[in-house]
Protein backbone atom coordinates (compact mmCIF):
# COMPACT_ATOMS: atom_id res chain seq x y z
CA UNK A 1 0.00 0.00 0.00
CA UNK A 2 1.33 3.42 -0.96
CA UNK A 3 2.19 5.96 1.69
CA UNK A 4 1.72 9.55 0.69
CA UNK A 5 4.58 12.03 0.68
CA UNK A 6 4.07 15.78 0.43
CA UNK A 7 5.90 16.83 -2.73
CA UNK A 8 5.06 20.48 -3.39
CA UNK A 9 2.35 23.11 -3.48
CA UNK A 10 0.06 23.23 -6.50
CA UNK A 11 1.36 26.71 -7.29
CA UNK A 12 4.97 25.51 -7.39
CA UNK A 13 4.47 24.00 -10.84
CA UNK A 14 3.21 26.04 -13.78
CA UNK A 15 0.73 24.37 -16.09
CA UNK A 16 2.50 22.41 -18.84
CA UNK A 17 5.66 22.33 -16.76
CA UNK A 18 7.64 20.14 -14.36
CA UNK A 19 9.66 20.46 -11.16
CA UNK A 20 12.19 18.22 -9.45
CA UNK A 21 11.39 16.65 -6.07
CA UNK A 22 14.03 14.80 -4.05
CA UNK A 23 13.06 12.43 -1.24
CA UNK A 24 14.77 9.60 0.60
CA UNK A 25 17.83 9.63 -1.65
CA UNK A 26 15.65 9.40 -4.76
CA UNK A 27 14.67 12.02 -7.28
CA UNK A 28 11.24 12.46 -8.87
CA UNK A 29 9.60 14.72 -11.43
CA UNK A 30 6.21 16.31 -10.67
CA UNK A 31 4.21 17.34 -13.75
CA UNK A 32 1.33 19.80 -14.10
CA UNK A 33 -0.55 18.86 -17.26
CA UNK A 34 -2.35 21.41 -19.45
CA UNK A 35 -5.68 19.97 -18.24
CA UNK A 36 -4.73 20.84 -14.64
CA UNK A 37 -3.95 17.31 -13.49
CA UNK A 38 -0.74 16.36 -11.71
CA UNK A 39 1.51 13.37 -12.45
CA UNK A 40 4.71 12.00 -10.94
CA UNK A 41 7.51 9.91 -12.45
CA UNK A 42 11.10 9.01 -11.66
CA UNK A 43 13.18 12.14 -12.06
CA UNK A 44 15.98 10.79 -14.22
CA UNK A 45 15.83 9.87 -17.90
CA UNK A 46 16.13 6.11 -18.46
CA UNK A 47 18.69 6.69 -21.23
CA UNK A 48 21.27 8.72 -19.30
CA UNK A 49 21.13 10.06 -15.76
CA UNK A 50 19.81 13.49 -16.66
CA UNK A 51 17.16 15.34 -14.63
CA UNK A 52 13.91 15.49 -16.56
CA UNK A 53 12.89 18.57 -14.59
CA UNK A 54 15.35 20.56 -16.73
CA UNK A 55 13.53 19.44 -19.87
CA UNK A 56 10.62 20.73 -21.88
CA UNK A 57 6.98 19.74 -21.31
CA UNK A 58 4.83 19.77 -24.44
CA UNK A 59 1.24 18.69 -23.87
CA UNK A 60 1.65 15.31 -22.16
CA UNK A 61 5.22 14.68 -23.21
CA UNK A 62 8.40 15.43 -21.28
CA UNK A 63 11.53 15.78 -23.34
CA UNK A 64 14.91 15.13 -21.74
CA UNK A 65 17.10 18.27 -21.82
CA UNK A 66 20.15 16.40 -23.10
CA UNK A 67 19.25 13.94 -25.85
CA UNK A 68 15.65 14.52 -26.90
CA UNK A 69 14.48 11.39 -25.07
CA UNK A 70 10.67 11.69 -24.89
CA UNK A 71 8.18 10.12 -22.49
CA UNK A 72 4.45 10.33 -21.98
CA UNK A 73 4.55 11.33 -18.33
CA UNK A 74 1.02 10.05 -17.71
CA UNK A 75 2.06 6.45 -18.39
CA UNK A 76 5.86 6.67 -18.40
CA UNK A 77 5.90 5.23 -21.95
CA UNK A 78 9.12 5.88 -23.88
CA UNK A 79 8.30 7.41 -27.26
CA UNK A 80 11.29 6.23 -29.29
CA UNK A 81 15.07 6.54 -29.62
CA UNK A 82 17.18 7.47 -27.81
CA UNK A 83 14.99 6.18 -25.00
CA UNK A 84 13.95 2.53 -25.08
CA UNK A 85 13.02 1.95 -21.42
CA UNK A 86 9.80 3.29 -19.90
CA UNK A 87 9.79 5.65 -16.96
CA UNK A 88 8.39 4.54 -13.57
CA UNK A 89 5.25 6.47 -12.58
CA UNK A 90 3.70 7.09 -9.16
CA UNK A 91 0.17 7.87 -8.01
CA UNK A 92 -0.58 11.49 -7.19
CA UNK A 93 -3.29 13.19 -5.15
CA UNK A 94 -3.95 16.86 -4.51
CA UNK A 95 -5.36 17.98 -1.16
CA UNK A 96 -5.78 21.54 0.08
CA UNK A 97 -3.41 22.96 -2.51
CA UNK A 98 -0.70 20.40 -1.84
CA UNK A 99 0.56 17.69 -4.20
CA UNK A 100 1.27 14.26 -2.66
CA UNK A 101 2.92 11.31 -4.38
CA UNK A 102 2.36 7.72 -3.36
CA UNK A 103 5.42 5.57 -2.71
CA UNK A 104 5.55 1.87 -1.84
Amino acid sequence: MAHWIEACAVDDVDEEDVIRFDHGGRTFAIFHAPDGRFYATDGLCTHEKVHLADGLVMDHVIECPKHNGRFDYRTGAAKGAPVCVNLATYPVKVEAGTVFIGLD
Binding site: E48, L56, P65, N68, P82
Partner: protein
Protein backbone atom coordinates in the same frame (compact mmCIF):
# COMPACT_ATOMS: atom_id res chain seq x y z
CA UNK B 1 49.47 12.43 -11.58
CA UNK B 2 52.92 12.44 -13.19
CA UNK B 3 53.29 12.28 -16.93
CA UNK B 4 54.75 8.77 -16.66
CA UNK B 5 51.54 7.58 -15.02
CA UNK B 6 49.41 9.02 -17.77
CA UNK B 7 47.73 6.54 -20.06
CA UNK B 8 48.25 7.28 -23.76
CA UNK B 9 45.08 8.15 -25.61
CA UNK B 10 43.38 5.17 -27.16
CA UNK B 11 40.51 6.46 -29.30
CA UNK B 12 38.76 3.13 -29.77
CA UNK B 13 35.42 2.92 -27.97
CA UNK B 14 36.17 -0.47 -26.46
CA UNK B 15 39.77 -0.02 -25.31
CA UNK B 16 41.92 1.22 -22.44
CA UNK B 17 40.69 4.85 -22.58
CA UNK B 18 37.11 3.61 -22.43
CA UNK B 19 37.81 1.59 -19.30
CA UNK B 20 39.64 4.53 -17.74
CA UNK B 21 36.89 7.03 -18.56
CA UNK B 22 34.31 4.81 -16.93
CA UNK B 23 36.48 4.12 -13.86
CA UNK B 24 37.32 7.77 -13.26
CA UNK B 25 33.76 9.02 -13.69
CA UNK B 26 34.50 11.01 -16.86
CA UNK B 27 31.94 8.90 -18.71
CA UNK B 28 28.35 10.09 -18.22
CA UNK B 29 29.58 12.83 -15.90
CA UNK B 30 27.55 15.85 -14.84
CA UNK B 31 28.54 18.85 -16.93
CA UNK B 32 28.87 22.49 -15.96
CA UNK B 33 25.94 24.70 -16.96
CA UNK B 34 25.57 28.44 -16.84
CA UNK B 35 22.62 29.33 -14.62
CA UNK B 36 19.58 30.38 -16.61
CA UNK B 37 16.20 31.03 -14.92
CA UNK B 38 13.75 28.18 -15.59
CA UNK B 39 11.15 30.44 -17.21
CA UNK B 40 13.70 31.87 -19.62
CA UNK B 41 15.10 28.45 -20.53
CA UNK B 42 11.61 27.08 -21.06
CA UNK B 43 10.86 29.94 -23.42
CA UNK B 44 14.13 29.38 -25.30
CA UNK B 45 13.41 25.67 -25.69
CA UNK B 46 9.94 26.23 -27.19
CA UNK B 47 9.52 24.58 -30.60
CA UNK B 48 8.22 26.35 -33.68
CA UNK B 49 7.54 25.04 -37.17
CA UNK B 50 7.76 28.41 -38.95
CA UNK B 51 11.52 29.07 -39.12
CA UNK B 52 12.42 25.51 -40.12
CA UNK B 53 9.64 25.29 -42.75
CA UNK B 54 10.88 28.55 -44.28
CA UNK B 55 14.49 27.37 -44.26
CA UNK B 56 13.62 23.92 -45.56
CA UNK B 57 11.61 25.32 -48.47
CA UNK B 58 14.56 27.52 -49.36
CA UNK B 59 16.87 24.50 -48.98
CA UNK B 60 14.80 22.40 -51.39
CA UNK B 61 14.41 25.31 -53.80
CA UNK B 62 18.19 25.80 -53.95
CA UNK B 63 18.74 22.07 -54.28
CA UNK B 64 16.22 21.61 -57.11
CA UNK B 65 17.12 24.88 -58.84
CA UNK B 66 20.87 24.21 -58.86
CA UNK B 67 20.29 20.59 -59.95
CA UNK B 68 18.11 21.81 -62.82
CA UNK B 69 20.80 24.26 -63.91
CA UNK B 70 23.51 21.60 -63.65
CA UNK B 71 21.47 19.18 -65.76
CA UNK B 72 20.61 21.86 -68.32
CA UNK B 73 24.23 22.90 -68.78
CA UNK B 74 25.69 19.39 -68.41
CA UNK B 75 28.53 18.95 -70.87
CA UNK B 76 29.55 22.63 -70.76
CA UNK B 77 31.60 24.65 -68.24
CA UNK B 78 28.43 26.52 -67.31
CA UNK B 79 27.37 23.58 -65.21
CA UNK B 80 30.25 24.23 -62.75
CA UNK B 81 28.67 27.10 -60.76
CA UNK B 82 25.44 25.13 -60.50
CA UNK B 83 27.28 22.07 -59.18
CA UNK B 84 29.16 24.37 -56.78
CA UNK B 85 25.88 25.48 -55.22
CA UNK B 86 24.31 22.03 -55.44
CA UNK B 87 27.34 20.43 -53.82
CA UNK B 88 27.35 22.77 -50.82
CA UNK B 89 23.60 22.41 -50.30
CA UNK B 90 23.81 18.62 -50.66
CA UNK B 91 27.15 17.88 -49.00
CA UNK B 92 27.38 20.61 -46.34
CA UNK B 93 24.04 22.09 -45.32
CA UNK B 94 22.65 18.56 -45.05
CA UNK B 95 24.94 18.13 -42.03
CA UNK B 96 23.26 20.89 -40.02
CA UNK B 97 19.78 19.66 -41.07
CA UNK B 98 20.73 16.14 -40.02
CA UNK B 99 22.04 17.51 -36.76
CA UNK B 100 19.16 19.77 -35.78
CA UNK B 101 16.45 17.32 -36.84
CA UNK B 102 18.31 14.53 -35.02
CA UNK B 103 17.98 16.59 -31.86
CA UNK B 104 14.29 16.97 -32.68
CA UNK B 105 14.49 20.73 -32.25
CA UNK B 106 14.18 22.09 -35.80
CA UNK B 107 10.41 21.69 -36.11
CA UNK B 108 7.72 21.45 -33.48
CA UNK B 109 5.95 18.80 -35.59
CA UNK B 110 7.69 15.53 -34.99
CA UNK B 111 7.24 13.95 -38.43
CA UNK B 112 8.82 16.96 -40.11
CA UNK B 113 11.97 16.45 -38.03
CA UNK B 114 11.97 12.77 -38.95
CA UNK B 115 11.51 13.30 -42.71
CA UNK B 116 14.26 15.91 -42.99
CA UNK B 117 16.50 13.77 -40.75
CA UNK B 118 16.13 10.78 -43.07
CA UNK B 119 16.77 12.81 -46.23
CA UNK B 120 19.81 14.57 -44.76
CA UNK B 121 21.20 11.29 -43.40
CA UNK B 122 21.05 9.82 -46.89
CA UNK B 123 22.81 12.82 -48.40
CA UNK B 124 25.59 12.47 -45.84
CA UNK B 125 25.93 8.69 -46.26
CA UNK B 126 25.18 8.38 -42.57
CA UNK B 127 23.18 5.51 -41.20
CA UNK B 128 20.26 7.37 -39.57
CA UNK B 129 19.96 4.89 -36.70
CA UNK B 130 23.66 4.50 -35.97
CA UNK B 131 24.34 8.23 -36.09
CA UNK B 132 21.43 9.08 -33.84
CA UNK B 133 23.07 7.02 -31.13
CA UNK B 134 26.55 8.16 -31.98
CA UNK B 135 25.48 11.77 -31.59
CA UNK B 136 23.71 11.07 -28.30
CA UNK B 137 27.02 9.66 -27.05
CA UNK B 138 28.85 12.75 -28.36
CA UNK B 139 26.64 14.91 -26.16
CA UNK B 140 26.95 12.66 -23.13
CA UNK B 141 30.73 12.38 -23.37
CA UNK B 142 31.88 15.31 -25.48
CA UNK B 143 35.55 14.78 -26.48
CA UNK B 144 35.99 12.20 -23.74
CA UNK B 145 38.64 9.91 -25.23
CA UNK B 146 37.44 6.33 -25.56
CA UNK B 147 33.79 7.35 -25.32
CA UNK B 148 33.03 10.01 -27.93
CA UNK B 149 32.51 8.47 -31.38
CA UNK B 150 32.66 11.85 -33.13
CA UNK B 151 36.11 13.25 -32.37
CA UNK B 152 37.17 14.85 -35.67
CA UNK B 153 40.86 15.49 -34.97
CA UNK B 154 42.63 13.18 -32.55
CA UNK B 155 45.95 13.77 -30.79
CA UNK B 156 48.64 13.94 -31.91
CA UNK B 157 46.84 15.55 -34.84
CA UNK B 158 47.20 14.09 -38.31
CA UNK B 159 47.32 17.36 -40.24
CA UNK B 160 47.38 15.71 -43.66
CA UNK B 161 44.24 13.82 -42.76
CA UNK B 162 42.63 17.03 -41.47
CA UNK B 163 43.48 18.79 -44.75
CA UNK B 164 42.11 15.89 -46.80
CA UNK B 165 38.81 16.19 -44.92
CA UNK B 166 38.04 19.28 -47.00
CA UNK B 167 37.97 17.14 -50.14
CA UNK B 168 35.42 14.79 -48.58
CA UNK B 169 37.62 11.87 -49.65
CA UNK B 170 38.31 10.48 -46.19
CA UNK B 171 34.73 10.60 -44.99
CA UNK B 172 33.56 9.12 -48.29
CA UNK B 173 36.17 6.39 -47.96
CA UNK B 174 34.68 5.29 -44.64
CA UNK B 175 31.03 6.26 -45.04
CA UNK B 176 30.14 4.32 -48.19
CA UNK B 177 31.99 1.06 -47.40
CA UNK B 178 30.57 1.37 -43.89
CA UNK B 179 27.02 1.37 -45.24
CA UNK B 180 27.79 -1.67 -47.41
CA UNK B 181 29.37 -3.49 -44.47
CA UNK B 182 26.38 -2.71 -42.25
CA UNK B 183 23.95 -3.78 -44.96
CA UNK B 184 25.59 -7.14 -45.66
CA UNK B 185 27.70 -8.02 -42.58
CA UNK B 186 26.07 -6.06 -39.75
CA UNK B 187 27.43 -3.71 -37.10
CA UNK B 188 30.95 -3.81 -35.69
CA UNK B 189 31.94 -3.89 -32.00
CA UNK B 190 32.39 -0.12 -31.71
CA UNK B 191 28.94 0.57 -33.16
CA UNK B 192 27.44 -2.00 -30.84
CA UNK B 193 29.09 -0.20 -27.91
CA UNK B 194 26.71 2.73 -28.30
CA UNK B 195 23.68 1.30 -30.15
CA UNK B 196 21.30 -0.63 -27.87
CA UNK B 197 20.56 -4.18 -28.94
CA UNK B 198 16.91 -3.47 -29.66
CA UNK B 199 17.89 -0.78 -32.21
CA UNK B 200 20.56 -2.70 -34.12
CA UNK B 201 18.30 -4.40 -36.63
CA UNK B 202 16.87 -1.00 -37.58
CA UNK B 203 20.40 0.21 -38.35
CA UNK B 204 20.94 -2.73 -40.69
CA UNK B 205 17.63 -2.13 -42.48
CA UNK B 206 18.45 1.57 -42.92
CA UNK B 207 21.87 0.69 -44.39
CA UNK B 208 20.19 -1.66 -46.87
CA UNK B 209 17.85 1.10 -48.07
CA UNK B 210 20.76 3.48 -48.60
CA UNK B 211 22.78 0.86 -50.44
CA UNK B 212 19.79 0.03 -52.65
CA UNK B 213 19.44 3.68 -53.70
CA UNK B 214 23.16 3.95 -54.49
CA UNK B 215 23.06 0.75 -56.54
CA UNK B 216 20.06 2.10 -58.44
CA UNK B 217 21.99 5.32 -59.12
CA UNK B 218 24.96 3.36 -60.45
CA UNK B 219 22.57 1.34 -62.62
CA UNK B 220 21.12 4.62 -63.90
CA UNK B 221 24.59 5.90 -64.75
CA UNK B 222 25.43 2.69 -66.63
CA UNK B 223 22.10 2.69 -68.44
CA UNK B 224 22.51 6.30 -69.60
CA UNK B 225 26.28 5.87 -69.94
CA UNK B 226 26.71 9.18 -68.10
CA UNK B 227 28.28 10.43 -64.87
CA UNK B 228 25.38 12.80 -64.37
CA UNK B 229 23.32 10.56 -62.04
CA UNK B 230 26.40 10.09 -59.85
CA UNK B 231 27.13 13.82 -59.85
CA UNK B 232 23.63 14.36 -58.49
CA UNK B 233 23.44 11.45 -56.03
CA UNK B 234 26.43 10.35 -54.00
CA UNK B 235 29.35 12.35 -55.40
CA UNK B 236 28.18 15.69 -53.92
CA UNK B 237 29.26 14.09 -50.65
CA UNK B 238 32.78 14.46 -52.06
CA UNK B 239 32.82 17.76 -53.86
CA UNK B 240 30.37 19.67 -51.67
CA UNK B 241 31.40 18.84 -48.12
CA UNK B 242 34.14 21.46 -47.79
CA UNK B 243 31.89 23.98 -46.02
CA UNK B 244 30.74 21.37 -43.52
CA UNK B 245 34.39 20.65 -42.71
CA UNK B 246 35.33 24.33 -42.65
CA UNK B 247 32.75 25.07 -39.97
CA UNK B 248 32.63 21.70 -38.25
CA UNK B 249 36.35 21.37 -37.53
CA UNK B 250 36.21 24.53 -35.43
CA UNK B 251 33.74 23.02 -32.99
CA UNK B 252 36.39 21.38 -30.83
CA UNK B 253 39.88 21.37 -32.41
CA UNK B 254 42.87 22.41 -30.28
CA UNK B 255 40.70 22.63 -27.16
CA UNK B 256 40.78 20.41 -24.08
CA UNK B 257 39.75 16.77 -24.05
CA UNK B 258 38.65 14.70 -21.06
CA UNK B 259 36.97 17.62 -19.26
CA UNK B 260 33.37 18.20 -18.18
CA UNK B 261 33.01 21.91 -18.93
CA UNK B 262 31.98 22.79 -22.47
CA UNK B 263 33.67 26.17 -22.11
CA UNK B 264 36.97 24.27 -22.15
CA UNK B 265 36.35 21.86 -25.01
CA UNK B 266 33.98 23.66 -27.37
CA UNK B 267 34.25 26.83 -29.43
CA UNK B 268 31.76 29.50 -30.46
CA UNK B 269 32.70 31.36 -33.65
CA UNK B 270 30.90 34.35 -35.11
CA UNK B 271 30.52 34.06 -38.88
CA UNK B 272 28.89 35.53 -41.95
CA UNK B 273 25.11 35.14 -42.49
CA UNK B 274 25.46 32.75 -45.46
CA UNK B 275 27.61 30.33 -43.48
CA UNK B 276 25.29 30.68 -40.52
CA UNK B 277 22.33 29.70 -42.71
CA UNK B 278 24.19 26.73 -44.17
CA UNK B 279 25.30 25.78 -40.67
CA UNK B 280 21.98 26.55 -38.98
CA UNK B 281 23.63 28.63 -36.23
CA UNK B 282 25.78 25.75 -34.99
CA UNK B 283 28.59 28.29 -34.78
CA UNK B 284 27.11 28.95 -31.31
CA UNK B 285 28.54 25.64 -30.29
CA UNK B 286 29.29 26.14 -26.60
CA UNK B 287 25.71 27.27 -26.16
CA UNK B 288 24.44 24.25 -28.11
CA UNK B 289 26.41 21.77 -26.02
CA UNK B 290 25.35 23.33 -22.74
CA UNK B 291 21.69 23.38 -23.75
CA UNK B 292 21.17 20.97 -26.68
CA UNK B 293 17.40 21.30 -26.66
CA UNK B 294 17.42 24.99 -27.59
CA UNK B 295 16.41 25.20 -31.30
CA UNK B 296 18.87 26.66 -33.80
CA UNK B 297 16.83 29.82 -34.30
CA UNK B 298 17.01 30.62 -30.56
CA UNK B 299 20.78 30.16 -30.22
CA UNK B 300 21.68 33.81 -30.90
CA UNK B 301 19.34 34.82 -28.04
CA UNK B 302 20.87 32.18 -25.78
CA UNK B 303 24.33 33.44 -26.71
CA UNK B 304 23.45 36.98 -25.62
CA UNK B 305 21.98 35.64 -22.40
CA UNK B 306 24.98 33.60 -21.24
CA UNK B 307 27.97 35.20 -22.96
CA UNK B 308 29.02 36.79 -19.64
CA UNK B 309 29.86 33.26 -18.44
CA UNK B 310 31.64 32.01 -21.57
CA UNK B 311 35.02 32.66 -23.20
CA UNK B 312 34.82 35.43 -25.81
CA UNK B 313 33.72 33.95 -29.15
CA UNK B 314 36.15 34.00 -32.04
CA UNK B 315 35.12 36.97 -34.21
CA UNK B 316 35.60 35.01 -37.47
CA UNK B 317 36.49 31.60 -38.86
CA UNK B 318 39.85 32.99 -39.97
CA UNK B 319 40.56 34.18 -36.42
CA UNK B 320 39.61 30.78 -35.01
CA UNK B 321 41.87 28.87 -37.39
CA UNK B 322 44.74 31.27 -36.74
CA UNK B 323 44.28 30.65 -33.04
CA UNK B 324 44.06 26.86 -33.39
CA UNK B 325 46.86 26.29 -35.91
CA UNK B 326 49.90 26.88 -33.61
CA UNK B 327 48.28 24.70 -30.95
CA UNK B 328 47.83 21.86 -33.44
CA UNK B 329 51.46 22.21 -34.49
CA UNK B 330 52.60 22.01 -30.88
CA UNK B 331 50.38 18.97 -30.28
CA UNK B 332 52.47 17.11 -32.87
CA UNK B 333 55.19 16.95 -30.20
CA UNK B 334 53.19 17.43 -27.00
CA UNK B 335 49.84 15.80 -27.41
CA UNK B 336 48.63 16.98 -23.97
CA UNK B 337 48.95 20.60 -25.01
CA UNK B 338 45.69 22.45 -25.60
CA UNK B 339 44.28 25.94 -25.99
CA UNK B 340 42.83 27.14 -22.73
CA UNK B 341 40.55 30.07 -23.27
CA UNK B 342 40.25 32.93 -20.79
CA UNK B 343 36.94 33.56 -19.08
CA UNK B 344 35.57 37.07 -18.60
CA UNK B 345 35.61 38.48 -15.03
CA UNK B 346 31.84 37.96 -14.85
CA UNK B 347 32.14 34.18 -15.41
CA UNK B 348 32.19 31.43 -12.83
CA UNK B 349 35.69 29.93 -12.84
CA UNK B 350 36.60 26.58 -14.33
CA UNK B 351 36.26 23.82 -11.73
CA UNK B 352 39.84 22.61 -11.84
CA UNK B 353 39.20 19.75 -9.43
CA UNK B 354 36.90 18.09 -11.99
CA UNK B 355 39.71 17.94 -14.53
CA UNK B 356 42.66 17.03 -12.32
CA UNK B 357 42.70 13.49 -13.70
CA UNK B 358 43.86 14.55 -17.14
CA UNK B 359 46.56 17.06 -16.03
CA UNK B 360 47.05 18.45 -19.53
CA UNK B 361 49.25 21.41 -20.35
CA UNK B 362 47.32 24.50 -21.29
CA UNK B 363 48.22 27.32 -23.63
CA UNK B 364 47.51 30.63 -21.89
Amino acid sequence: MSSSDKTRRDYSLVGESTRRAIETGLASAEWYHTEVPRKVMKELMQRRDGPAIRDTLLWFALLIGSAAGAIWFWGTWWCVPFFFVYGVIYGSSSDSRWHECGHGTAFRTRWMNDVVYQIASFMLMRNPVQWRWSHARHHTDTIIVGRDAEIAVMRPPDLLKAALMFTGLLDFRYALPGLFRQAFAGLNAEEESYIPEMERHRAVVAARWHVAIYLATVAGALYTWSFLPLMLVGLPRLYGSWHMVLTGLLQHIALADDVVDHRLNTRTVLMNPVSRWIYWNMNYHVEHHMFPMVPYHALPRLHELIRHDLPAPNPSMWHAYREAWPVLLRQLKYEDFYLRRDLPPSARPYREEFHALATPTAAE
